[in-house]
C-alpha cells in the first residue's frame, strides 16, 4: 500500500499538472499546432534552437507536447526562473505565455511583472519593421548571396525629425569562437561548429558596416503590419534573445533562414518560411514577402559608398576629375582652394580609400584628408538636394530563381546530340543580371547528360563543382583585378576523341574595364590543370589566358564573346597549345526563362586549325 501511495505521489510529481487537466498538443487546432511549432522553431520533428534554456522540458527540443505541458506548469509557478538572467518564465517566454493564454490554457494564472521586457520594448520604441537586404561584397563571390536583417522602425520618426539611422536592427549572425582562418572557418560553417545569435544593434552600425565598410548596397523594404503582429514579433525576439543560440550552417541555417523562421511567428498566416530547397538564400526571404499582396509598403535604396563615389565622379567635368586625381596624391593643399566639387571629391575618394585599404592610408593621404576637411568646413554649407538616382538593378526581388533546368540541342561536327542540364545554383555571366551583381558568376553543382545520335550513346556532358568569375571593374579609385576559378569535369574537344572527358581546373586573374554599365571587357591569365586518360601523359598543366567581351544589348538580350588559349608547360610550351573561341547569345523571355544560342570552335592541339565546331540551342527555366 505504501509502495502504491509512493508511486501515486511520484506520478503526481512527474506528470505536469497541465497533462492532468487534459491539455495536450494533440488537442490544439491545426492553426494552433502550427503556431506552437513555429514558436519552438520546429523543422522535421525537431527544433533548430540549440540552447537548453530555450526549452522548459528536457524533451522540448524533440517533443512539442512535453514542452507545452512543461511551459504551462512553470507559467503557473510564481517562483520559477528561466533564461540567461533567471527572470520569471512568463517574462522570458513571453509569446508562448500570451499564446497559451489566448487559447485558454492559462485561465486564472497570476501574471508576473516583467520590468526588463517592458524596458526593452519601450527602448526599441518600434512601430513597424523593414526587411533589409545587403547586396554582395564587391569582388567576393562568396558574399554573392547577400545578407538580410530587419530594422525596427521607431514610432514618430517624421514628427521627431529622426532618421532611420537611429532605429535598431536585428540580425542573426554566427559567432566563431576563435580566430579561425579560411579553410577551418569554411569547414566549420558547412558542417557545424559555430553558434549563431541574435544581434540587436543600432542601424547606423549596420549602415557603416555594409554601406561604407564593405561598399554593399542596402535595400530596405518597409512592411505593412498590424500592432498585434509587431507585438508578437517583439515578444518572440525577446524570448530568443533571452534564451538561445542556433547552430550555424551556411546552407540552410544561415542569417536569413533563421530570421525568416522568426518572422514566421508574427506573419503566421503568410507561409513565409517554407524552406523548399536544401539551401536558403537571402533573396528568397525578400521574394516571399514581395509576393504577399500589400505586405510591402515602400522601398528605399541606400547606395554603397563606392556607388556614391562613382556617381559623384560621373557628374563632374573631366578637368575637375583630373584635378581631383592630382590633388589626392599631393601633400599640400592651397590655403585659398575653393572648388567645392573637387574638394568634396577628394574627401570622398580618401574616405573610400580608407575603407578599401582597411584604414591604411599613407601619412600623406591622412594629412591631405585632414586638410581637405578643414578647408571644406570653411566653404559654403552643402545644400539639401534631391537624392541622386542610382542603378538599382541588383534588387533581389527582380532576380531569377537560383536553380535551373535546361534542354539543349547540339551539333559537334557531324554528331547530333540532345541533352538536359540541372544546375543547383546560382547565376552565370550569360544569365539575366536583373537582381544580381552585373557580370558576376557563381555556379555550383551543375551536371548535364546527353545522347549522341550518331554513336547511339548516352554520356554525361559535364559536371561542375564550382565555377566562379568576378569581373571587378578596374578603376583609378579602386584598382582591383578580376578573377576566375573553376573545378569541373568537361569534354575534351581538342583531340580526335568522341565523348571523352577531362578533369579541368583553373585560376585566373586580370583587369576588367566597363566602358558603360552594360558592357564589360576582361583579360585574365593564370594557371590551369587537366587530367584525362585520353591525354598523352595523362595530364596537362600550364598557363592560360582568356579574353571576354560581354554586352547587355537590351533588357531581354545579352551577348558574349570569349576566347581562351592554353599552353601546356609540361612539354614544349610554345608548340603545345589549344584555343577555344565562342560566341553566345541569351534571350530572356521572362524572369525565369531564357533561350541561348552558342557557337564555339576548339582548335586542334598544337595548332589554331579547327578541330571541333560546336553549335547549341538551349532553353532553360529557373526554379
Amino acid at each position: 500500500m505504501r509502495l502504491f501511495l509512493l508511486l501515486v505521489l511520484l506520478c503526481n510529481l512527474l506528470v505536469p499538472a497541465a497533462f492532468a487537466a487534459g491539455i495536450s498538443f494533440d488537442n490544439l487546432s491545426s492553426d494552433q499546432k502550427d503556431y506552437w511549432l513555429k514558436l519552438l522553431h520546429y523543422h522535421k520533428n525537431s527544433s533548430r534552437a540549440d540552447s537548453e534554456k530555450f526549452f522548459v522540458s528536457p524533451m522540448g527540443k524533440n517533443n512539442p507536447n512535453a514542452e507545452l505541458l512543461a511551459d504551462i506548469d512553470v507559467f503557473n509557478d510564481p517562483f520559477a526562473k528561466a533564461g540567461w538572467f533567471n527572470y520569471h518564465p512568463q517574462c522570458v517566454f513571453r509569446e508562448r505565455f500570451e499564446f497559451l493564454k489566448r487559447i485558454g490554457f492559462l485561465n486564472g494564472v497570476k501574471e508576473q511583472p516583467c520590468a526588463e521586457l517592458k524596458e526593452w520594448v519601450n527602448g526599441l520604441n518600434a512601430e513597424s519593421i523593414s526587411l533589409i537586404f545587403s547586396s554582395s561584397y564587391p569582388n567576393n563571390p562568396s558574399s554573392l548571396f547577400g545578407h538580410t536583417m530587419i530594422r525596427l522602425n521607431q514610432s514618430g520618426k517624421a514628427a521627431n525629425n529622426t532618421s532611420d539611422l537611429l532605429d535598431y536592427s536585428v540580425a542573426f549572425s554566427a559567432i566563431p569562437e576563435h580566430e579561425d582562418m579560411g579553410l577551418v572557418f569554411a569547414i566549420k560553417g558547412m558542417f557545424g561548429g559555430y553558434k549563431g545569435i541574435l544581434e540587436i544593434t543600432k542601424y547606423y552600425t549596420k549602415v557603416n558596416e555594409y554601406n561604407n565598410g564593405e561598399s554593399r548596397d542596402l535595400i530596405e523594404y518597409d512592411l505593412n503590419m498590424t500592432p498585434d503582429e509587431l507585438h508578437r514579433l517583439l515578444n518572440h525576439l525577446w524570448e530568443i534573445y533571452q534564451t538561445t543560440y542556433f547552430d550555424y550552417f551556411f546552407a540552410d541555417e544561415n542569417c536569413s533562414a533563421v530570421l525568416v523562421d522568426i518572422l514566421a511567428v508574427p506573419f503566421n498566416h503568410d507561409n513565409v518560411n517554407s524552406h523548399a530547397r536544401w539551401f536558403y538564400l537571402p533573396s528568397e526571404m525578400i521574394k516571399v514577402f514581395k509576393k504577399i499582396p500589400g505586405r510591402i509598403k515602400s522601398e528605399n535604396f541606400r547606395a554603397s559608398l563606392k556607388k556614391q563615389l562613382e556617381k559623384q565622379i560621373s557628374i563632374m567635368p573631366n578637368n575637375d576629375v583630373s584635378e581631383l586625381k592630382k590633388m589626392a596624391s599631393l601633400k599640400e593643399l592651397r590655403a585659398d582652394y575653393s572648388n567645392i566639387p573637387v574638394l568634396d571629391g577628394v574627401i570622398s575618394l580618401l574616405d573610400f580609400t580608407r575603407y578599401r585599404t582597411k584604414d591604411q592610408l599613407t601619412p600623406d593621404q591622412k594629412s591631405m584628408f585632414r586638410k581637405a576637411l578643414i578647408r571644406r568646413s570653411a566653404l559654403a554649407q552643402a545644400k539639401v538636394t534631391d537624392p541622386l538616382v542610382y542603378d538599382q538593378n541588383n534588387r533581389p526581388d527582380l532576380g531569377h530563381e537560383p536553380q535551373k533546368f535546361s534542354f539543349f540541342l547540339r551539333t559537334e561536327e557531324a554528331h547530333s546530340l540532345i541533352g538536359v542540364e540541372l544546375k543547383e545554383g546560382y547565376h552565370d555571366l550569360m544569365s539575366n543580371d536583373a537582381g544580381y551583381d552585373p557580370f558576376s558568376q557563381f555556379d555550383f553543382f551543375t551536371g548535364s547528360l546527353l545522347y549522341d545520335k550518331k554513336l547511339n550513346r548516352v554520356s554525361y556532358d559535364q559536371l561542375t563543382f564550382v565555377n566562379l568569375i568576378s569581373l571587378h571593374t578596374y578603376k583609378f579609385f579602386d584598382p582591383q583585378f578580376s578573377w576566375a576559378a573553376k573545378i569541373l569535369s568537361d569534354r575534351l574537344y581538342d583531340l580526335d576523341c568522341d565523348l571523352c572527358h577531362k578533369f579541368n581546373a583553373r585560376a585566373y586573374l586580370g583587369p576588367t574595364f566597363k566602358p558603360t554599365s552594360k558592357m564589360a571587357l576582361s583579360l585574365m591569365t593564370g594557371v590551369f590543370g587537366e587530367l584525362s586518360r585520353h591525354l598523352e601523359k595523362g595530364f596537362r598543366a600550364g598557363v592560360g589566358m582568356e579574353g571576354s567581351f560581354l554586352f547587355q544589348v537590351t533588357e531581354k538580350m545579352k551577348i558574349g564573346l570569349f576566347d581562351e588559349l592554353r599552353f601546356d608547360a609540361t612539354k614544349k610550351i610554345k608548340k603545345d597549345y589549344y584555343n577555344q573561341i565562342g560566341f553566345k547569345q541569351s534571350y530572356f523571355t521572362g524572369i525565369n526563362n531564357e533561350w541561348r544560342l552558342e557557337s564555339s570552335m576548339v582548335s586542334k592541339f598544337k595548332t589554331f586549325s579547327t578541330n571541333t565546331w560546336i553549335n547549341q540551342l538551349n532553353y532553360g527555366f529557373f526554379f
Binding site: Y137, S142, I175, E179, A186
Partner: protein, 157 residues
C-alpha cells in the same frame, strides 16, 4: 552530399571574405562566444568604433548587458563613437544624414542650423584626427550651449 558540395564551394571562396573579422556586436554573444561574425568581413573593426567595456556596459551595448538598448543619457556618445568617420566628413560639409541624426540626439529639430554650427566650429569640435567620440560629443554639446539659437531650441540640452 550537400555538405561536401558546399565545402567545395567554400574552399574556393571563403578564405578571403571570412578572414580576420572582428565584431563589437551586442546580444547573447557573451554567453556563446565573442569576437567574430560570419556575415561581415574584416572591415567591421574600422567602421564600428571599438567601445571600451566600461562604456559599452554603461550604455547597454556590450554583450554583457541584459539587453542592448542604448540608454538615453548615452545615445549621443554612442552615436559619435560609432560614426566618427561619417561625422567628420558631413560636419565639414555642414550637411548630411549622419549630421542630421547627430542633431536629433541632442534634440535639435533644426538640423540645418546644427549643421551650420558644427561646420563653422569644425576645428573646435574636431580639433585633431584622433579626437574621440566622447570628446566630439562633449565639444558639440558645449558649442550648442554657446549658440543662442541652438541652446534654446535643442530639447535635450
Amino acid at each position: 552530399m550537400k555538405n561536401i558540395i558546399i565545402a567545395l564551394l567554400a574552399l574556393i571562396s571563403a578564405t578571403s571574405v571570412f578572414a580576420g573579422d572582428s565584431s563589437s556586436g551586442c546580444g547573447m554573444g557573451w554567453e556563446v562566444a565573442k569576437n567574430q561574425s560570419l556575415v561581415s568581413s574584416s572591415t567591421r573593426s574600422i567602421v564600428n568604433a571599438t567601445f571600451s567595456n566600461t562604456i559599452a556596459m554603461t550604455m547597454g551595448t556590450s554583450g554583457c548587458a541584459k539587453h542592448s538598448i542604448v540608454k538615453n543619457d548615452a545615445k549621443g556618445i554612442h552615436f559619435a563613437e560609432a560614426n566618427m568617420n561619417q561625422l567628420a566628413i558631413e560636419m565639414a560639409r555642414g550637411n548630411g544624414e549622419f549630421v542630421a541624426s547627430f542633431a536629433s540626439v541632442f534634440g535639435c529639430q533644426n538640423s540645418r542650423a546644427f549643421g551650420s554650427m558644427v561646420q563653422a566650429k569644425y576645428e573646435t569640435v574636431l580639433p585633431s584626427e584622433s579626437t574621440s567620440g566622447v570628446e566630439l560629443y562633449n565639444n558639440v554639446k558645449a558649442q550648442i550651449k554657446n549658440n543662442a539659437t541652438l541652446s534654446s531650441t535643442c530639447s535635450l540640452m
